[in-house]
């Protein structure tokens, strides 16, 4: 929230979120904390792997963030990165060498955190055979040195403005080298050793995961809680019933349509918080006639985003004015496509398909929000002659078709693809840098390739001058909206139900939470 208010031009957007947050009324930091207690959290996804370098799924990284520290950390209420295991750092003027001074911290087994552990962990992070998820963000990192136990040096191959955010990613979690090497990878995966606020107590797959306070945690007096118990409850209604029955303190991922009603439960507030995630229709930019800009723009003009917001998100979303999620350099002044059927028809008239065309859209079966949105688009786009055919499938089936390029359009549901860092580099690189294809497809599968966009991304990555980066990303945002490789619709927030007796809980814009200061007030 604070991030938006610091940019005065974003007040308009912020006021919408503020109105939404008015559903809640939770106190922050002003509350008096009662020490101890075990926090019960009901989640919809279980973890599959708890070691930092394995898998980038949200089920895992959200939990890893509680168990491991990073050199630098994303903290609630701060737009910039804060010191983590590194209490200070300096950057050489050429931007190619970073020197971090480590603070004195201990792992959960009492061993001190040394630069050797940091080097071991970060070497694994940049090794593409070990770290499977985010290696595209690490290509500019060269190597790490540990000249003395409390100093770690990072050598860059090229200037990379967002490298600090990369270090704050879950993959940059620091593990104990000694423990990993003596236990072996498998035993370590079952009993991981990190220096974060909590450590693993027990894990019953599919049911619950218990974390207990790390007695050696370096932040004085934190965590305030004794432990956290994550209960896995996949069904949305069951999660809501759980918090209503008082069996859990926090229930995540409350469906948008029930946010207001859950907020009226006794003793419960609903937090609606910004999330760096967008929801829209992704187009295959090499499939005719979607390779014509006029056609893509026509689809954008023919989409009634206000109606979709009301029906699917219960009014909790905001209109999306950029192709990528609203990360750090997001410019709220870039105009979104207004709903203008005449403009849409005029654009189509200029294209090779003036009378419309058939458009199959891939939709996740069983996801009601996707179905509703697809049906709205079907009836709306028919007005400009585009016949939408809804193709449902489950996740693996659709993924296989998508990466093979065997699709024309894909509906990405709310909360499906979030940014893992608040910096623009991750998403801008994925979508606009056509020199880094994934699974053989550029544009993160949309097959959108543009010289100009690629150059803008590379320029923004290659400088550490914040003002210059802001300028470049703003230009990229405008260019991207004009090129319309997708039909971006709405930014959607996270909706979490929290008992009023819990203080200092909030969801970061990347979707996870820091629980060091969370506490019970009664």
């Amino acid at each position: 929230m604070v991030r938006y208010l610091r940019n005065s031009r974003a007040l308009a957007a912020a006021s919408v979120f503020l109105a939404a947050v008015a559903i809640s009324g939770q106190a922050w930091a002003a509350a008096t904390c009662k020490p101890g207690g075990v926090l019960q959290m009901a989640r919809d996804q279980d973890a599959t792997a708890l070691v930092p370098t394995e898998s980038d799924g949200n089920g895992n990284i959200f939990l890893q963030e509680q168990m491991y520290d990073h050199l630098v950390e994303q903290m609630p209420g701060f737009a910039d990165l804060q010191p983590g295991l590194a209490e200070s750092w300096t950057v050489a003027p050429d931007g190619l060498t970073y020197t971090f001074k480590l603070r004195s911290a201990k792992f959960s087994n009492g061993d001190p955190v040394t630069s050797e552990d940091v080097k071991f962990s970060l070497d694994r992070m940049i090794d593409p055979t070990v770290q499977v998820g985010w290696s595209f963000l690490m290509t500019n990192i060269g190597s790490f040195d540990a000249p003395d136990p409390s100093t770690i040096v990072m050598h860059m191959k090229q200037v990379d403005a967002s490298v600090l955010f990369t270090l704050s990613l879950p993959a940059g979690g620091v593990i104990s080298k000694k423990a990993f090497e003596s236990m072996g990878a498998e035993a370590f995966a079952a009993n991981p050793v990190g220096s974060g606020a909590f450590m693993l107590k027990s894990w019953t797959r599919g049911q619950n995961l218990e974390l207990v306070k790390n007695p050696h945690y370096w932040r004085e007096g934190q965590p305030i809680l004794d432990g956290v118990n994550f209960q896995i409850v996949e069904d949305d209604n069951a999660r809501i019933l759980k918090i209503q029955a008082g069996e859990t303190d926090i229930a995540q991922s409350i469906p948008f349509s029930q946010a207001k009603q859950v907020g009226e439960f006794e003793g419960v507030t609903v937090l609606v918080e910004p999330y760096v995630v967008g929801f829209g229709v992704w187009l295959n930019n090499t499939a005719k006639p979607l390779d014509e800009k006029a056609v893509r723009q026509a689809l954008n003009y023919a989409t009634p985003k206000d109606i979709i917001n009301e029906v699917v998100l219960s009014g909790l979303g905001t209109i999306q004015n950029s192709i990528i999620p609203p990360t750090h350099f997001w410019d709220s002044s870039v105009p979104a496509y207004p709903y203008d059927l005449d403009k849409a028809k005029a654009l189509l008239a200029q294209s090779s398909v003036p009378n419309g065309f058939t458009l199959p859209i891939m939709v996740f079966g069983g996801d009601t929000q996707s179905q509703q949105t697809a049906e709205i688009l079907q009836s709306e786009w028919a007005k400009i002659g585009v016949q939408v055919e809804i193709e449902t499938g489950d996740r693996p089936a659709l993924a296989a078709k998508y990466w093979a390029g065997d699709y024309m359009a894909r509906l990405v549901p709310p909360s499906a693809l979030s940014s893992d860092t608040p910096d623009d580099s991750e998403w801008a690189g994925l979508v606009f840098d056509s020199t880094t294809p994934y699974h053989g497809a550029v544009g993160f599968g949309t097959r959108y390739a543009s010289e100009k966009a690629t150059q803008l991304v590379k320029a923004a990555q290659g400088t550490i001058d914040d003002a210059k980066r802001r300028e470049l990303y703003a230009e990229l945002q405008r260019f991207g909206m004009d090129e319309a490789p997708q039909v971006p619709m709405l930014f959607s927030p996270t909706v979490t139900a929290v008992k009023k007796s819990i203080a200092n809980f909030s969801t970061l814009s990347t979707g996870w939470w820091r629980l060091e200061q969370t506490c019970f007030t009664e």
């Binding site: 599959t48 792997a49 898998s55 980038d56 799924g57 593409p128 055979t129 499977v132 998820g133 985010w134 290696s135 595209f136 995966a189 019953t204 797959r205 599919g206 049911q207 619950n208 209960q231 896995i232 409850v233 996949e234 069904d235 209604n237 069951a238 019933l241 759980k242 209503q244 029955a245 069996e247 499938g393 489950d394 996740r395 693996p396 089936a397 993924a399 296989a400 078709k401 990466w403 693809l417 994925l430 994934y438 699974h439």
Partner: protein
Amino acid sequence: MLNYLRRRLFHAIPVVFGVSLITFLLIRLAPGDPVRMMLGNVATPQAIAFWRGYFHLDDPLPLQYLAFLCQMVSFDFGESILLHAPVRDLLVSHLGPSAILVIYSIAIALCLAVPMAAYSAVRANRPGDNLVKLLMMVAFAMPTFWLGLVLVEIFSLTFRLFPASGLRPGPLGFVWSLTLPAVTIGLGLAAVLIRTLRSAMIEALRADHVLAATARGLGPARVLARYVLRNSLIATVTVLGVSLGGLIGGSIIVENVFAIPGIGTLLVGAVGSRDFPVVQACALLVGISVVVISILTDLTTALLDPRSRLN
């Protein structure tokens, strides 16, 4: 009896074999890559290649099937692609709740069905019978998840008697947390059983020996218990056996609503992430369970009806 058992088990082998082969082929025919599902959105080509090799996913199909058969014989079942945990451990941890849930549901269904069917049969076509028929129609027509949620609303939220969801530890905790799910399934099952049991009982009540027993002065309870019930149960046992087969993997909806980590949840999750080893093992388990239930049903029928033993 032993011969009969031996013959049935011998015939079960091709059934189990067929189930495993069909599942093996079907899950591989479905589009989607298990390794991509495990690694996530931005997996590197090297990682994908490594894991596909590790799980032998690029070996020729007959070879993969042979490997699966060898594992099956030694109760190995391999390693879950998504979770990297031995499939055997996953099966065991998920089988417990499912098995107890099924047994509990049958117990509740029978406790409801037998008395209500008897009551209904004795008062055939009178208001009491019609009331029972109406109630059972309603129970049968209600969607399972809706019934489950309603029960939670009443017994967990309003009366705080049972937990809203999840499995509590310990044997007592198990039973306590599985009560509402078992009632949800049991009600639907009872509705099915009452129909067959009621018709069978009405038929049995018309028999001459029942008239004779009543004429000799035996009370209605004794007549029902000794002379009517045993004859009527035969058809019902068959129906119960068929319903049970569906319950083993089909309790997914109830498991989902009550957050019970059972075989249904495991199977659906595995299909959704194309976790081949887990899908194959679960399908095998369900197949074997159905065969075992079928044998048990026939044995029970044989026990109840001496006439069928002659074959």
